[in-house]
């Protein structure tokens, strides 16, 4: 089961220049909340920015990661 640190590290490793703050929303290891800042978001719609982050986890979203609530910030 991933923890908040795993989620943070995977986002930062996968998205160029990304900095992520991740918290385990419920303490249960399956509902996370992340704020992600990256220059990779420039020019993308909010929808595309979120897809980019969800894409890091593929089918784990909705599986072991029940929810990953996102705020994305382009910089």
């Amino acid at each position: 089961m991933p923890d908040a640190t795993d989620i943070k590290e995977r986002i930062e490793a996968a998205i160029p220049g990304a900095r992520a703050d991740v918290e385990d929303w419920t303490g249960g290891g399956d509902h996370f909340r992340a704020t992600v800042k990256s220059s990779a978001f420039a020019g993308l719609t909010r929808l595309e920015q979120h897809r980019l982050v969800y894409g890091v986890f593929g089918e784990e979203i909705g599986g072991p990661i029940h929810a990953l609530s996102l705020t994305t910030i382009s910089e």
């Binding site: 897809r51 969800y54 089918e59």
Partner: protein, 130 residues
Amino acid sequence: MSEQENPIRDAIAEAIAGNEVILFMKGTPEMPACGFSARTVAALQSLDTSFAAVDVLPDPRIRGELSALSQWPTIPQLFVRGELVGGCDIVLEMLETGELAALLGAEGEAGTIQTPAVAGGGALQIENRL
């Protein structure tokens, strides 16, 4: 599998095309089965938006086909005029910035008749097509 052999995906695509504002959610607007769905319904209701709603819970295939179609992994999913707007986070962010009101209001200005809210009716439609 071809389109013809995939009645659930066809029914979902038809529901999206046939409803100006449609929310795929867990549970119904009256009785949401998940906090994210509940908050998204509340956002739409705060703008007095009429919307069609489909409960994805009765048949797990609905959710699978929807995500394959929309390329979006989570529920809820809001579509306006055939386009995916996003899930709970995006809808709430757009509510705060006024973008959601603009998106939904533009529809009213264009004189489009809004679809009356269907609580779970969409899901029944989809089931009836199996």
